[in-house]
Amino acid sequence: MILGDLLGVDVYNDDGTRLGRVADARFVVDGAPRQLLAEARLLGLVVSPHSASSFLGYERTGLQQPWPLPSLLRWRHRGSFLVLWEDIAMIGAKSVRLREGYTAYSPALDSSGP
């Protein structure tokens, strides 16, 4: 499968409750060294309960400018979380299911994340 197919897919927890949709995939660049960058590794998926549209990057930082855009986008994506690859039980064509007792991390790129 290609990553693009995964975006927008519904996400369920282990007892079948719908949690939201895949809004983004989070990578870390810590694989084998290459010429320019190390290989990327899929860290996990960002799940958003209300909208799978773009965050325009505002989930990663605490940026407040230019008012009121960040507040609007954060409101549209309220309740979104990052779930690690290890916590994903199954990826199907139309749904993603999480393991029991998965951890919902903040999608921010500061000390509150994984």
């Binding site: 693009g4 325009l56 930082t61 940026l63 400018q65």
Partner: protein, 409 residues
């Protein structure tokens, strides 16, 4: 002294490069139908393009990324592609209009039919894009474009009733024979002509071409903040000439010959010679910029190597894309469609597509990860948000107004 010359050259090029076929046609049409009652839109548009060019130039200098590289990074591939498609198609429309404009101007100078000039114009555009250095290309067309100042000279020589003109400009009202919706339709067209997206693609890619760094920002700010408003005054002079000569005669501009008619009346044969040089230089310069912009947008989105600072063999897809765009423009013009009509549509569609490029630049200009300490200050952000609302309103209102007014008929 050398630095001063550099600043002067930059400002002069910005003035001469401001006016293109869109400004020429739209300002003349508006002047001939609405007098100076829409002149405030030129002011709104010029302030907007100053703001937008200042932000995208700063993003390019601070992050080393041009507009479409930023759009691809920030919007992701899917939303980015939709954005690219719209921006690219409108840019292609502008390429077509500019080449048609060069051909029409050459027809006026030579009495040879414009359809015969079109292949010549396209070939010349390609040769310059292929061979000529970026800075010489900018400076020559920009400086020759300055001859359009003859519109201002002609306006003085026509000895208009200044009080009447000032009255139209300062207390705008819809003329009796026009409707409110056509007034607003042309307001959007004029706004789109002043704030054409290609200017920003070109401006930010040009900053990368010329290897700007943070310390060149002062120079670029002067170029924009002095050059564009003075270029805007040229636009007003074009509208003023039309308002003085064509409006009382009841001539609504539909061709390029009518655009320059007031100059011939006010400044005679010498004026006519100047204005022909100016129109050819302005449209040819803009044809170069739009052709390059089509290559820039595609190459930046798909990650091809791009730029005139590379040899064509090292940026093969970039150059091939521009050649294909020129052929598409040629094919469209070969159908005999009126370039003036293409221009009138292209400025409105420019206004429609503007939010697509404006919003990502505004967001990135606020992101310290790209910009370091050169993020937007608070006053710039307040102005930028006001303009976001204006740009969105113009974009959303354009299509309904186009339908209601029958494209301004």
């Amino acid at each position: 002294m050398k630095r001063l010359l550099g600043v002067a050259l930059g400002v002069l090029t910005a003035i001469g490069g401001f006016v293109d076929i869109g400004d020429l046609v739209t300002n003349a049409v508006v002047g001939s139908r609405f007098g100076l009652s829409l002149v405030w839109v030129v002011g709104v548009g010029v302030l907007g393009i100053c703001l937008f060019a200042n932000m995208s130039g700063r993003v390019a200098a601070a992050s080393g990324r041009a507009t479409f590289e930023v759009i691809r990074e920030r919007l992701g591939p899917r939303a980015g592609l939709a954005n690219l498609s719209a921006s690219f198609l409108i840019n292609l429309m502008t390429v077509t209009a500019e080449i048609g404009g060069v051909a029409l101007a050459l027809q006026l100078a030579s009495s040879v039919h414009y359809l015969l000039w079109i292949p010549v114009a396209a070939l010349a555009v390609w040769l310059v894009v292929w061979r000529v250095k970026f800075s010489s290309m900018e400076n020559v067309t920009g400086l020759l474009g300055l001859t359009l100042i003859v519109f201002a000279v002609a306006l003085f020589l026509l000895q208009p009733d200044w009080g009447n003109l000032a009255g139209q400009a300062l207390a705008p009202a819809v003329p009796a024979e026009e409707t409110v919706s056509t007034y607003w339709y042309y307001a959007i067209a004029l706004f789109g002509a002043a704030m054409t997206p290609y200017e920003v693609f070109f401006f930010s890619s040009g900053a990368v071409e010329e290897g700007w760094s943070i310390k060149d920002l002062v120079q670029s700010r002067i170029n924009v903040l002095v050059g564009f408003p003075l270029g805007g005054l040229l636009s007003v002079a074009i509208a003023g000439c039309a308002a003085v000569v064509l409006l009382p005669a009841g001539i609504a501009v539909t061709s390029l010959s009518q655009v320059i008619l007031p100059v011939a009346e006010g400044a005679g044969k010498v004026g006519l010679a100047f204005v022909l040089v100016g129109v050819v230089a302005a449209t040819f310069g803009a044809a170069l910029e739009t052709t390059l912009s089509s290559g820039y947008t595609l190459a930046q989105f798909f990650g091809w190597s791009w730029g005139k600072f590379r040899r064509p063999a090292q940026a093969a897809r970039f150059h091939l894309a521009m050649i294909i765009c020129l052929f598409i423009g040629l094919a469209v013009l070969a159908t005999g469609v009126d370039p003036v009509l293409v221009t009138e549509y292209s400025v409105v569609f420019s206004a429609i597509a503007l939010p697509l490029t404006y919003l990502p630049i505004l967001i990135v200009a606020n992101d310290p990860q790209y910009m370091g300490q050169h993020v937007n200050g608070r006053p710039v952000n307040v102005l930028a948000m006001v303009y976001l609302v204006i740009i969105l309103a113009a974009s959303l209102a354009a299509i309904p107004l186009m339908v209601v007014t029958g494209a301004g008929a």
